[in-house]
Symmetry: C2
Subunit: 132 residues, 2 copies
DNA sequence: ATAAGTGTACTATGTCTCATAGTACACTTA
DNA sequence: TAAGTGTACTATGAGACATAGTACACTTAT
């Protein structure tokens, strides 16, 4: 699978963890769904079982999965995870807006420019700015 | 000086580079101003001259400073640097908004929440939302 | 011309993280 | 009982990072 990117400077275990964090937050994996075993994942991802285990450690510590000894790893309920991630995003955007203001850029302008770059996915819900 | 933080996971040379990037973008250092020498900086920052040199390499490659052999390192003009950084910020915010939408959060709500966290620095220019 | 200060380029050493390989053990399930 | 599961070790190698030390070409002040 195309999960590991050797041009990416991040460690492999972190890339694997990020990949599953994204899948879980997107709802691509259902709650209580069983993940492939450590050894199976190692083969699928072309990585070492120890590296996969390290990625699963991260996912477990951060509340994305839970473990049942002898049975496997399972996807955690996503409600609280989504809320937590949303708060991270809000905080990060606030930091960036503060920096923009520090270097003399207007936060409102920055926000407007960022909106222009948003991928349009629901055109029927989009209001064209110049139509107001 | 309190530039290097050993609790910070980033390498020292990157911390030093980030510190000067920030100073330059904020306008705390004027264009064509001379930086302290590599050896002087090493003492001031309590770091190794080689590590300082590596940080200056980064600053030079990214256009924050320029070098005159035998004389020293000097601060680059900040106009284009600020514009480039603003574009980075815009792109990063767009990425975060896309992710928020992917996990079911409304981008407009996220933006509103981020604005609430902005530090108030110019109250005379701030319009209270509930007063509209 | 000389000395001091400048950036720069090396070698060498030690520490740490990361990734891999291999082995072993306790648990659950078929 | 056998197979599959997570988990915990040891060991090895590669690479990034930081430090120490030395050296050289350049510019500037004396």
């Amino acid at each position: 699978m195309n999960v590991i990117d050797y041009k990416d400077s991040r460690p492999i275990y972190e890339q694997i963890a990020s990949y599953y964090k994204r899948l879980i937050l997107l709802g691509a994996l259902e709650a209580d769904e069983k993940l492939p075993s450590v050894r199976t994942l190692a083969i699928e991802l072309s990585a070492n079982p120890n590296t996969v285990q390290k990625a699963l450690d991260v996912l477990g510590r951060e509340g994305f999965i839970y473990t049942v000894i002898g049975r496997g790893n399972f996807v955690m309920n996503t409600d609280s995870l989504k809320k937590a991630r949303e708060q991270e995003i809000v905080g990060r955007i606030a930091e960036l807006l503060n920096e923009a203001r520090e270097i003399g850029s207007d936060p409102e302008t920055v926000i407007a420019d960022a909106k222009k770059r948003l991928e349009v996915s629901e055109p029927e819900l989009t209001v064209r700015e110049d139509a107001v």
